[in-house]
């Protein structure tokens, strides 16, 4: 019997109340599980509105040590009950440090550890450098009950380095929780297509399925407001969007992949066979 994995992306809107957000997420996790999903990806920072739209001190009060974070505490029994793995995106506090982090819950509900977002964006509507210290964990892959899963967080997803690093660490599926939408400073700038294309590119260049989960809806933390463009998807190893949602839809995407086939097929492509690590020095040079 081939080794398969069924992955899911959740897409919904989120508001001010954390308990409501958790309940919404739990409902979608249950929907996904009922359709056979084994690793179920909610979108980024579902604990609240995307507060990074502006710089406000009050939000630091919503960060918690990762083991005690209310979203982790709430999702852990759900993971255990349903027997599914859930990568939980959180605002993490560790002493005086604050991170944009991810806790991977395995199918018994136990956390496998924490990953801290490596690449922190900054720009109008995405003031993340105010809130988050750049991650200090390095990239991580997770040996879940269903396969080895690599998870980057939002801005990480634009970096081919993140995807390649997780693949070199043995990832069999890549996942990216996201919160992205309109650009308050420029109504003409719509990044939905590029957002997908960057990740479709990772799928192709690494011969690996990629799952992107984004929030939807309009939030009014600032006067201008910010509309998140959904467009969550599951891409296969060719970059085909085998499952996808529109900008405003709420729902669940589920797709199964044959990991044994992908393993052979990745080898047959030969990308990893032919890498020239002897020529890649410029990639790691701090001053190329």
């Amino acid at each position: 019997m081939p080794r398969t994995i069924s992955v899911a992306a959740l897409q919904t809107s989120y508001g001010e109340d954390m308990q409501t957000n958790i309940r919404k997420t739990e409902d979608l996790v249950r929907q996904a599980a009922s359709r056979g999903a084994q690793v179920i990806l909610p979108s980024e920072l579902f604990q609240g509105p995307y507060f990074c739209v502006s710089q406000e001190e009050k939000w630091f009060g919503e960060a918690y040590p990762w083991r005690e974070h209310p979203c982790v505490a709430a999702m852990s029994p759900v993971a255990a009950e349903l027997g599914v793995a859930i990568p939980v995106s959180i605002f993490e506090r560790e002493g005086p440090h604050y991170f944009n982090s991810l806790v991977m819950l395995d199918a018994d509900g136990r956390p496998l550890g924490v990953y801290r977002k490596s690449h922190i964006p900054d720009g109008p509507g995405y003031q993340e450098k105010y809130y988050f210290r750049p991650g200090d964990t390095g990239f991580k892959v997770w040996d879940t009950r269903f396969g080895r899963v690599g998870v980057g967080i939002c801005w990480d997803q634009w970096y081919p380095e993140t995807a390649r690093a997780m693949m070199l660490m043995g990832a069999e599926v890549l996942m990216y929780p996201t919160a992205i939408g309109s650009e308050p400073h420029d109504k003409e700038l719509d990044t939905a297509d590029p957002w997908r294309r960057a990740m479709q590119g990772h799928a192709v260049s690494n011969v690996v399925p990629v799952v992107g989960a984004n929030r939807t809806g309009t939030e009014h933390a600032t006067e201008v407001g910010q509309t998140f463009y959904g467009s969550s998807f599951i891409a296969n190893q060719r970059g085909d969007l085998v499952e996808s949602l529109g900008r405003d839809e709420e729902g669940v995407l589920v797709h199964e992949f044959d990991l044994d086939y992908l393993d052979r097929h990745r080898a047959a492509w030969g990308f990893f066979r032919d890498r020239r690590t002897d020529l890649y020095g410029v990639l790691t040079s701090p001053r190329p």
Copy 2:
């Protein structure tokens, strides 16, 4: 006045006779130049049929030192006459070594140097490891009269490492001459979409235009035959296919880009600002 660059991709079929192939290429270069193109990209190894479809000793007789290669000798006066830069893909011989190489001719017809394909593929229909020693030049970018251009060769184009390295070396446009088509061992395997997507991904992740030039037509070097799928394109910095050709068309694509705008816009995205070279060690590790 903004600094602009007009780039072109050529798409045609090629046969056994090198002089005919050179003439065909020259005709298309002239068409592109008449439409204002400044850097004009023919497809890979236009000197002959794509001989790598099988392993045959006779083809080693078609390799030449790069300064004396008939394609370089023929294109150099064309570049000078038209005042255009031409990246010329050749089968190169240097003593006992054979390379899949590229000579960049600047707009005065003089060669700026040689790049030797870093990643060499091998698989049914693409027996390149039999012919070519993996390149020893490292990645290169070229200060042409019109801007700094990075050129990878075919298999290089699937590697995010190639694109990123050329960007870190200051490339303002990326180009990839190609010879790719049907997979003789598997009629179901059509790589045209993934081929484009990998490069659209480079465009997005590096905020840079990408030009891909592929040959078209069916060649009969082996019993099965091999059909090249064309699909040449020019992608903008969002990965939009702003110019493209079908599978069987012959012709020329031309597009102009504003390099000053792209320079600012790339900075505003912040991808290069936020790279974590401290976390990328696995990318260059020979045994990760």
